[in-house]
Symmetry: C2
Subunit: 148 residues, 2 copies
């Protein structure tokens, strides 16, 4: 049985997901494939944009959070995926070399009405560079109950 | 001047982003790096999960939509990125080989109060396999005004 089942996601619990460093090469490679807007690929285009410099695609920032969440929470849990969420945002851009701290907080939890054995956990994701929020989201995680 | 400036994003306008095919190898490679939950990596783990089979990470599904949006809209526009959105979801899983149709619809548009020359466009994203919704989102896009 994994360490974390539905019952362990109690409202208010905060998971520290550690720090992540934004790797310049990977950031650009990701953008080239999925989001090749000039300010995600090129220094000068970044400086000339609203974003102020070459910066990560928001999807890349999200994916870095996701991997930290997998490493510290999902990999030790009864996770059954996610149907989505109600908020996602990148209030400040992530730049190459940024060292960011990732967290996940339990907002609320309830049993699934349609699937016995499954629980729905509302969570708040955040990624910070010092006090700047680079990523935040509120979403639902599905977790099997203990012994289900 | 790009073909699409803020003024071209009129409420109700729908952009057909064409079809995308979910590539099995890329889907698994993406999951291995960013979201290595067993049902995103392995057939049997997928069959034994709520999801019913080996399926894409929702982040991968989102990224495929993003690339189609870039190709058909952003690359021809005055896009200045996105601060985020109010909804994202994957009502049904995406399986390897799925052929999906992507669209983007303008919900509303307004001028930025803090940045003259910039407009904020509320958009609805969708990706469909026949009538099944595999991805949907509502988010804000930032676009420079014509001649700004």
């Amino acid at each position: 049985m994994p360490e974390l089942a539905f019952e362990d996601f109690t409202p208010g619990r905060v998971f520290d997901l550690g720090t992540v460093t934004a790797n310049r090469e990977e950031m650009i490679e990701f953008a080239r494939r999925y989001d090749p807007q000039p300010f995600h690929l090129d220094e000068e285009a970044g400086r000339n944009s609203v974003l102020g410099g070459l910066c990560a695609s928001g999807w890349y920032t999200s994916c870095l959070w996701m991997r930290a969440f997998y490493d510290e929470v999902l990999s030790k849990s009864t996770s059954q995926g996610s149907p989505g969420g109600t908020e996602f945002g990148w209030p400040r851009p992530m730049f190459p070399g940024d060292v960011v701290r990732a967290t996940a907080e339990v907002v609320s939890a309830r049993e699934s009405r349609s699937r016995p054995g499954l629980g729905l956990v509302e969570m708040r994701a955040q990624m910070l560079r010092d006090d700047d929020v680079l990523f935040r989201s509120q979403f639902t995680g599905m977790f099997a109950k203990r012994g289900a």
